[in-house]
Subunit: 417 residues, 2 copies
């Protein structure tokens, strides 16, 4: 079955709100193995909404509509969809009672009552977090129209608890997707390496770039979850064989989540000493709930004096090689291991830009060091090609540091070739 | 002129990615006074993409396409749009050279070179943050097609620096918008206070919520920039009169940008001592280019031992009141002023969640202290209403700290009523 999402709301067309509803619905449909082929947004305009519904009914077996179910006069989704599908609206008494009890009143305004008028014969989806119920019904042409409220705090639970189970019981196939996450090789070379695997139909393989990393998505369709999963596994193995240690995980949330998990599993701790990344690395580590077990201390030593004082970076190193040098990165990593008593220490120093670059030390030149108190490794990141943003340099330097820790903890060479 | 956005990418239909591109473009169009009537998403499928472009050309004077400009074989936007608009693709030599220099190579792969093939006679939009250029060109029916790369880190700067100016010079009217930024009062109460100002037609006034802050956008339309600007000013003044010190700036980038600017202007320095925010505050300060002048040192003291060792928080304070207490926040702020020699110090300690809360100290309880070495102020943030995420609590605590510094430096009471 092919599906389509129509999101209704002028606020989406003004860019005041990001359409997270569509992503939530898309993910749910993808999980059900329902092919989503189109999504569109229309404003609170009856004529354009009617056109969008008619187009949708003509090409899609399932039309999911989000938004426009509320009490105000510009909430038109139900009225317009019912008319396009050849249905009348009827008062749904249990929904009216829910709205009354939501407001703790026997009588609600005519605007509020409007929300309980639903297409005749529809399957009602209860709203546990607001007033407007959702519903699903069959149009005259056989297509299904599913309507969900716009606020994500109402849509998401209704989708998960009522709409997905409703759709699931009508499904024949299951779809399973796995993301193979890669650090150290870009999307283009990865795609090239996988070129001969990219034309499969079941499983399918697609490459995606993602903020200095990339990942490959493997997707299969079958009658059961296990069967679909079994179809994915050989392809995932083949990708791992080709990419080796550049694959850092399958279905892991992020490099930082993986690093925290590896550290916790090995009972090890990590401390950070950051200059140009300014706390981004410690922020990313502590984004992970439970990171307090493995991360006790970080310092942001922006000034040279702070590098000397907190990390014991020798003044002669700073004077002879400069703050942005492999020697300083090394001394920072070693210094934070000493200062914190952690098993591992990271030192990052560089020029994130946009100012501060010279011919010899350009914007984007960043040194990242990892020390375990005995050995210390340094990676140099040089700017290549086009000017990148400050955010980009900082993000990539933090990712590089996390990848060095990941490689260390999994027994790979810390510095990739 | 009516506009339409077509976002291209199967990842959007799988819900793997939220379509922030569409919101960024929608906001930019709204700022230009261009009516956006439709947005849609199609996958990397030539047939459906062609249909979407044909529908778009038939009803919209401006078609903005996002995504699908990259090097891989499933990047089809340019090829399909050019064909639908009756244009050939030609090699754009300067773009090829940019791609070559991006990779620091004279020869790039055929996949990479593909990105430099653009519709004949198009206006090229340079990509300062990646390889795929954007472009704008006229279709045979007179409609304009504008193409932007999918990754938001490439799309956003290209949109702001090249696409908006290109569209602007083709507009008859000039639209001027000013954002009045507010900290310490929510969207709903602000909207209520401004209720009588909200029905104006030129200038218009609209409230927006934004990650624990809110802002009011004042927009006017006129034949010249000056004229439009003059229409905005009295309304901005009236908003300032009503909100007083809760307005932190007009058209400033962020609280952190303002704080860095205020510190630099007064020749003062700030140091940070963070627990639950894990480096987010120092990360946000150092997001601002040039922050090294005013920010020399930060520490992330996640463990109690680190609080004692780096900040001299007395063990008896930690034992008597706990790590999450006004006393500890105060000692952290005072400790970092001592350790760093900076003029001002921030201490943050709290429970960001999702675990670690108790009935007495629930998730979301965070203390933020500001010290100038002489006086110290503490603000307590308590969780209210619906459960919020770890990210939310951390972000709001960092913002609160920045606002305390802002209030201190502008002579307002540090702790707002």
């Amino acid at each position: 079955m092919n599906a389509e999402i129509i999101s209704v709301g002028t606020e989406l067309l003004l860019g005041a709100v990001v359409n997270t509803d569509a992503a939530l619905v898309a993910r749910a449909l993808s999980g059900l193995g329902i092919n989503l082929l189109h999504t569109c947004v229309v404003g609170d305009n009856p004529k354009r909404l009617k056109e969008a519904i008619e187009t949708g009914l003509s090409r899609s077996g399932l039309l999911v509509m989000t938004g426009g179910l509320g009490p105000t006069t510009d909430d038109l989704t139900k009225e317009t969809a019912a008319a396009a599908a050849g249905k009348k609206l009827c008062l749904h008494q249990p929904s009216l009672e829910r709205i009354q009890s939501y407001f703790n009143e026997k009588q609600v305004s005519i605007n509020q009552e409007k929300q309980a008028w639903l297409p005749e014969g529809c399957h009602v989806l209860q709203n546990d977090n607001g007033t407007a119920p959702g519903c699903a019904f069959q149009a005259e042409n056989g297509s299904t129209i599913l309507m969900l409220p716009g606020p994500p705090s109402e849509l998401e639970p209704m989708l998960l608890h009522y709409a997905v189970p409703y759709l699931k019981q009508r499904q024949e196939f299951t779809i399973v997707s796995h993301n193979v996450r890669i650090y150290g090789r870009g999307e283009a070379p990865v795609a090239q390496m996988m070129d001969d695997l990219m034309n499969g139909e079941n499983p399918t393989l697609a490459p995606y770039a993602n903020e200095g990393e990339c990942y490959l998505r493997v997707t299969a369709k079958a009658h059961s979850q296990q069967e679909a999963d079994a179809l994915c596994q050989p392809l995932i193995q083949e990708i791992k064989n080709r990419l080796g240690g550049f694959v850092y995980g399958v279905d892991v949330d992020s490099l930082e989540a993986l690093v925290v998990q590896l550290l916790a599993g090995q009972g090890k701790t990590l401390a950070t000493a950051e200059s140009c990344t300014g706390g981004l690395l410690s922020k990313r580590l502590t984004d992970v709930a439970g990171s307090s077990q493995v991360f006790h201390m970080g310092v942001v030593t922006y000034a040279n004096q702070a590098k000397e004082q907190l990390l014991g970076v020798p003044r002669q190193v700073l004077e002879a090689h400069g703050a942005v040098s492999p020697e300083t990165a090394r001394a920072m990593a070693q210094g934070i291991v000493r200062a914190s008593g952690s098993h591992l220490g990271i030192g990052i120093t560089g020029i994130a830009g946009p100012q501060g670059g010279t011919a010899e030390k350009p914007v984007g030149l960043i040194y990242i060091a990892l020390s375990d108190g005995k050995d210390t490794w340094v990676v140099k990141r040089s700017p290549i090609g086009r000017t990148k943003s400050r955010d980009w340099h900082r993000h990539c330097a933090a990712s590089q540091a996390l990848d060095m820790v990941r490689r260390y903890l999994t027994g790979l060479p810390v510095v990739a070739e």
